[in-house]
Symmetry: D2
Subunit: 407 residues, 4 copies
């Protein structure tokens, strides 16, 4: 099978499923496996993944465990938040935005090792396979991508466990039974979907939420914070400068505490079906509100309206896996151009699931009290101008009304 991969870089979590994939790659293709385990802020220890990979026969020099949190927030999350991106009006794209970063590392490591393939553990029904693979192909058109879930015959829990046992893969006790739902987590969000959550008519049980307290359990007293932006990116909380990942971590803490950022959502997958997910995006939800707050005073109307009109397409591209596409980069160029003066501070009130802008100020503000005031404006604005403005805007409507009246 000349087409079989010889050396594969696997996105490896250290969990049961990707351990099975690891072994399957070895047995199915007889290929050398290199593992990549990323700290995306998912909140799990990564060193056990090293031990497990070694146990499964991976050479130490083939094990890559990398803290990518700063890269993730700086190069992926923040650019996306400059756009106020929401998929289908509500979803903050927490899973979608992590996939291209993982593919980028898989491809980079493949190049380092002279590997000819990468592999991932996403199923054949979801969006993640698309995101992983489009990103990988966009970065290296000659790379092979192996998606075991689409290839193998381990199509039931029983078969998976049998394979694991037959191959001496340790099975944690709590993995014997099936999880009641599937979870993905990173510094931006935690998503839960599948099985127990598949009926969109039924409220998700409280135990699904892992990342936030419930609004009911959040403090009874509001808390105020101030978030400072420079050129569209958050740079400080309460005047304390922080790195991108640090700031998102801190916002997550605020969000968790105040029960902010829960979303029960039915979305349209790129592969054509609807699916229901429970999302928790505590820090991201605060960040979106804050970013909108600072744009309100620093962004020009024309720029803002253009951004708003481009956003749905931008969000759809990210959701569908086209981060590394020329059209996403074109939109990013436009969006980034708009952010040059999005600099200033927003004051937010956090309270039991709510995050609200209550104040914003900036040296770069375009808000002109002189123009808007109900008081005497000392000639800043001539109300008579409005008459001409309206009459010319109305002209075509009047010609139209006169025409239509004839028929």
């Amino acid at each position: 099978m000349s087409d079989a991969p010889k050396k594969v870089v696997l996105a490896y979590s250290g969990g049961l499923d990707t351990s099975i994939i690891l072994k399957w790659l070895q047995t199915e293709y007889g290929c050398e496996v290199i593992t990549f385990t990323a700290d995306l802020g998912q909140g799990e220890e990564l060193e056990p993944a090293r031990a497990k990979a070694e146990l499964l026969g991976i050479k130490p020099e083939n094990i890559h465990i990398v803290d990518v949190r700063e890269e993730f927030v700086r190069d992926y999350v923040f650019p996306m938040f400059r756009a106020n991106a929401l998929y289908e009006g509500l979803y903050l794209l927490g899973t979608s935005i992590a996939r291209p970063l993982i593919s980028k590392h898989l491809v980079d490591i493949a190049h380092q090792h002279g590997a000819d393939a990468v592999a991932h553990g996403a199923t054949g029904k979801g969006n993640d396979q698309v995101r992983f693979e489009l990103s990988a192909y966009a970065l290296d058109p000659s790379i092979k991508v192996i998606a075991p879930w689409r290839e193998w015959d381990l199509t039931s829990r029983t078969k998976l466990l049998e394979f694991a046992e037959a191959n001496q893969i340790p099975i944690a006790k709590d993995k014997r039974g099936e999880a009641p739902f599937s979870v993905d987590a990173n510094l931006l969000h935690t998503s839960s979907e599948g099985k127990a959550l598949e009926n969109p008519a039924e409220e998700a049980p409280e135990y699904v939420y892992q990342r936030t307290v419930s609004p009911e359990d959040a403090p009874d007293t509001p808390e105020y914070i101030e978030v400072t932006f420079e050129r569209g990116d958050a740079v400080a909380i309460n005047d304390q400068a922080m790195s991108p990942a640090t700031i998102l971590t801190a916002l997550n803490d605020y969000g968790r505490k105040h029960g902010i950022g829960r979303l029960d959502f039915v979305e349209n997958r790129f592969v054509g079906m609807k699916s229901r997910g429970i999302y928790e995006t505590p820090g991201g939800t605060i960040l979106l509100e804050a970013h909108r707050g600072i744009e309100q005073i620093t962004l020009d109307a024309g720029a803002g309206h253009l951004k708003d009109s481009l956003m749905p397409r931008y969000a759809e591209l990210i959701y569908n896996g086209f981060w590394f596409s020329p059209e996403r980069e074109m939109l990013q160029a436009a969006i980034d151009k708009s952010q040059e003066h999005v600099t200033g501070t927003v004051r937010l009130k956090l309270y039991k699931g709510n995050v609200n802008t209550v104040g914003r100020w900036s040296d770069h503000s375009l808000y002109s009290e002189a123009h808007v005031t109900f008081e005497d404006d000392a000639g800043a604005y001539d109300q008579k101008d409005a008459a001409g403005f309206i009459r010319l805007n109305a002209l075509r409507l009047k010609l139209l009304a006169a025409r239509n009246a004839k028929f």
Copy 2:
């Protein structure tokens, strides 16, 4: 002055300002004045407006007091909510959507009475003048529109009060001093702006909010409601069928009680400046969430994404006063077409400022558990199809990567 209006229909609230306008029209132009006072659900008694108009010399047959609440919700609010319209990402357009209705009645009454002009009490700095006038011109290209605030020399509070006194216009005690901010209200929302609210850095004081309890004062226990939609419009709450205005009134009650729908916002006015407003849209905020919830399972992805991409333009048109424009009607035709199967029920949790969809069901649902399930799907979906899907989506990216690698 042959160009002077002879008979004018005035949008008359019965308050001091429009009473001054009424008298000013009589004295400035010597014209006959007809008053139109609408019950838009602003929550004020209207009969005093009749008495006041009579006192100012308006003939009984020239006084029009009309309950337009059902028309407002059915023909303006509901069509707009089919679009999930948000101006600049956040504002539910509560003031904007009422203006065309008022203009429509002004023009209709002008035609009944053979009047040659209409008049409104909006200032020369705001959006409302534009909305009133574009609507009026679009409905009758030969109508004159009189905007006294842009014409007269009553440019200070003192001069206004002097004019009122000189013309025997009664001045309520609490109108002697200036209001600390300006308010507009209707069944959809209450807005507050100006004066005390002009500094966007300062949190709005609690007393500004008139339409909702503060989240802190809302009940400590969540409340669940179910809203049913037919073809995109809300038709029932908790299985109880209601008329459009009744349903919005009921949602307002829920929203008020739970502190839902407050917004502190800096927006871009059509006339070119930024302004800060405090909006309360209790029922509308619930309605938007519910409508999105039912669309999640009943609206096709292609239709939904097109709607999302059209929405910003649609909202901008309404904000700018182009309700009666061919382009708004074109967008409405597209949006309405999408709503044919937006029928079903959404379950919402209301709690201290939060409104969240927690369940949705419909005979028209497109959600297919058979396709999405983590369990065996009995052949509904062939995971192998995804491989081809991804490869063809990737093809252009691969060709691109190969090309770019050469340079």
Copy 3:
């Protein structure tokens, strides 16, 4: 093979390729074949297709030969031309728009006969397979679609001819050798692509063009025609009322004579690759120019600009095969709404490849000589209004310039 089709409706041209498919379906699946042969205005006799089908063993009642020209122009071509649809700026979508009609008939005939499948002769590399199949599935989600070119092993000309000979399929002499390029034709256009045309650097030879004389050979004298529209659709030429297909046929004659509508084009296929085609759309090119000409005086600016901005997406949907999709129907609803007054007459000059609007008039005209005139306009327009119009449009730009000057 329980999944095998039992009764198949085949899009049958009567040519060698679809005759091979017909026989292959019979032998491969042992299924009953029903043929559908459409007169789309491709300019070929259809009765030979009947004889050939009978020869191949198709029962007379299973042979459908239908003249769909009026349906094609009325329900597909004209709606599309209301949008001024151009794919990638230049292509008039002549092939794309015919495919959904064919699928519709295939599915309708399947329902009449209780057939469980339809089949087409499009290859696995092109757009047509997508268009046929998306349309079929959108009209009947349970239909099977068979695409022999993706299934069989007749992967070379030699194998095809061997199969034909082995199955007594008559082979016309001129079909022994391979055609130098592939042709698709209908009332709207003729396309040629492949083989001899695959190098996009080389000019297509003159013999490729089958539908138009070359501009060099066209008459040396211009010809003028007048096309009349009602609600966006052409209804008469030179005051002579005609049916949709008749009018397009007549425009084709004019276009052919004057060498109008040739296009040498490299386009992006939906399946991910670029391809080069030579298109001839004589009547369609005239129709587009004429439609634009009548819209110039009858369509409002707001409506026109919205149409222009929606057009690329609309064209892409048709190109990609999504005619029967909710988003195409939404866009169509918006476009059709705009055409209510697109009624009037356009005068066109045809000359050696050029078609130019030289005059247009309409009772529905919005053109106001009173407003635009360089002469005294008798007060139709107050130039002073422009000052206010400009100042308010400039306001945000001035605030922006003042802000930016600080940094």
Copy 4:
């Protein structure tokens, strides 16, 4: 009159109208006048403007005559052509794109001289006033703009001539009578409008065309040229490298000779009315075709479709005078991003009004004969992939059809 301008920079052509304006500014405001006369390629001698300005009392150091042709093409025309910009589907924006450049020079010269105002000779009915003034305000928010045509009472030809005579302004013999139409010209185009052309039903007489021979009079033999692009801009013709203005001049010569680039057009002005113009854009028409030709093989589908969808808005912004706006700059950033590999050569056939791409080639080509070929593609493309691609694209349509069938 403290608000009166003290020093004004006038856009001065040397013609009668701007000479009258010059004198009027001196007499009306008693202000110092500085003249700016630009060589935009309009094809007129500029030195007479110097003599005339001196005659009217302008100090030599206050007379600016500048050749801006390279700047015009490099910084305005070429960036616009990267977008394939067409206003309302047909107009190449030849007048619109020159206005911001003129305003930029007016403001720069005002800053050099410490002038507080600029003045232009555009009327109050057209678009140019808007373009001049928005540009000026965007570049200097404190500048005054004087538009004499909106201010003075010289509202008839007779009054203008009287004013000229009373002020010793020389009147060329052929300016005594009124011109039958108004003309604007620069290196990109010549426009003619007004008076004799105001009836859009009547064909424009041949004598209106000043920039191109008629197609009927063009050579009977086609001419082929090759235009080479680098990063979206034309850099050579027939392998001969040229500067931007030189290349546009050369293309104009080709276009003039072959009767290319005439347009009879009714457009929607920003100020609300429709107007009819005759445009000649010989070189620009060739350039657009060539740019599209090279994009066909070098631009990715995703990038191209995004560009196409942004273009109408981009063109509208330029037409409306918003060249110096953040939203135009955002769109430009996106468009420029797309042009990084738009490098290669296009072969064009010029013949009697037609310009057609007949070949294109590039080292940066994305066209892959290996993928598209009708011949054996040696495994470049697996036709089976198309089945999965189609099935997943169809999935939502099938779910939709199944749902809709129930109602």
